[in-house]
Symmetry: C2
Subunit: 200 residues, 2 copies
DNA sequence: TTACTTTTGCTAACACTGTTAACTAAAATA
DNA sequence: TATTTTAGTTAACAGTGTTAGCAAAAGTAA
């Protein structure tokens, strides 16, 4: 009775072709432009067929999100075992993480919900400069009064903003209804750590 | 000839009511659910009227993005002048930034293009745990071999991830076509700074 | 007041999106 | 061969952003 097996195999083939077509679309046009109709077109089946394999569009994206996390974890594991010292491992993992994000941009955007709409927006916003100026000037002053007054404050500004934005966006993602007390502790620790690093 | 003035005033009134209706929609249902039709409904005008005041939907969101950056900059300025020491200012600004993000969630999401689609997604992803485990264990080992082996490695993990994610998402937002050499320098500085802070 | 021009706002449509109900045709089973 | 199951279809619903074309109102000039 190989019929059932063949049917499962065929079903699996369609499923795979859906994912393949979807991923091709994501890679070429960005995940914003992925549509069920385009997938259906690409696999040469009608639209409802896709819903026999995935509950909805979100489920297809979820598949890629999982794949992305798996790939990232694999890469990190690979890199980790190439070093013995934990501190060196930590450094290598960080670089691997960063490389992964830019080498697999589409994965990363899906994994962390980076909607590109703001990308085009944010670069034409004069109002952002005010914020930037306040931050940079404060860092500049802090550095000038520090043991290493020659430190690159532009560099430090980016670190500062990244820590803050990273904290916020990850915490926002995790907890639907506002930050927890633990989140606040993390903030305090991160900020005090950064400032200490400025004051050597 | 106050006619022209009155016309400008009336036009401005409609424009304001569009923004008001749009913002109300964003606040109550999230910016993902904002639609031109809903705005038109709310202001009791037909759809094309909105396009007499804004080039497209994006332009309306851009307005809020600007507003958000202005508000954030104002808050930061307020907080800054309440302290004398630059290092203290830096700390206060950081807290203000964080508070702003969660108190004005909708603004922040618009400003930094945080698409919520991944929010629901990311919390049901087992694959994420592998990545988390690698990171945490490495940090744990680093801390154990450090002068302060009692440090909270869960806390440090969050800082680590936040720095990385913050760097990536901001750099991705700024440079459409991959990171620059300067971005890589920022990464190196931030990572080495973090690791140094672990090793006291 | 009348005739003309400009502005304003509307209806209706186009081209998309995700999703699903209802049906047909093919395949497997009895 | 007749029946049941399953696969795949068409067509539609309910949305989305955006725009062309037209009617009505408002302002201007004679």
């Amino acid at each position: 009775m190989g019929i059932a097996e063949r049917r499962i195999r065929q079903k699996e083939e369609i499923r795979a072709s859906i994912l393949e077509a979807a991923w091709h679309q994501v890679l070429t046009e960005g995940w914003q432009s992925l549509s069920i109709r385009k997938i259906a077109d690409a696999i040469e089946y009608s639209i409802p067929v896709i819903y026999n394999h995935f509950e909805n569009k979100e489920a297809i994206l979820l598949e890629f999100t999982k794949e992305g996390f798996q790939k990232l974890a694999d890469t990190m594991q690979e890199v980790k075992i190439q070093h013995i010292e934990p501190a060196e491992q930590l450094e290598a993992i960080a670089y691997a993480y960063w490389d992964f994000a830019f080498e697999h941009k589409e994965y990363y955007q899906l994994m962390f919900g980076l909607g590109i709409p703001a990308c085009e927006r944010v670069n034409q916003i004069a109002e952002m400069k005010t914020m930037t100026t306040i931050m940079i000037s404060t860092i500049e002053e802090t550095i000038k009064a520090s043991p290493d007054p020659e430190a690159d404050f532009f560099l430090k500004y980016h670190t500062y903003l990244s820590i803050l934005h990273g904290l916020v966006s990850i915490q926002m993602m995790r907890n639907e209804g506002g930050p927890t007390e633990g989140d606040r502790r993390i903030l305090k620790d991160a900020v005090s750590g950064f400032i200490k690093s400025l004051l050597v």
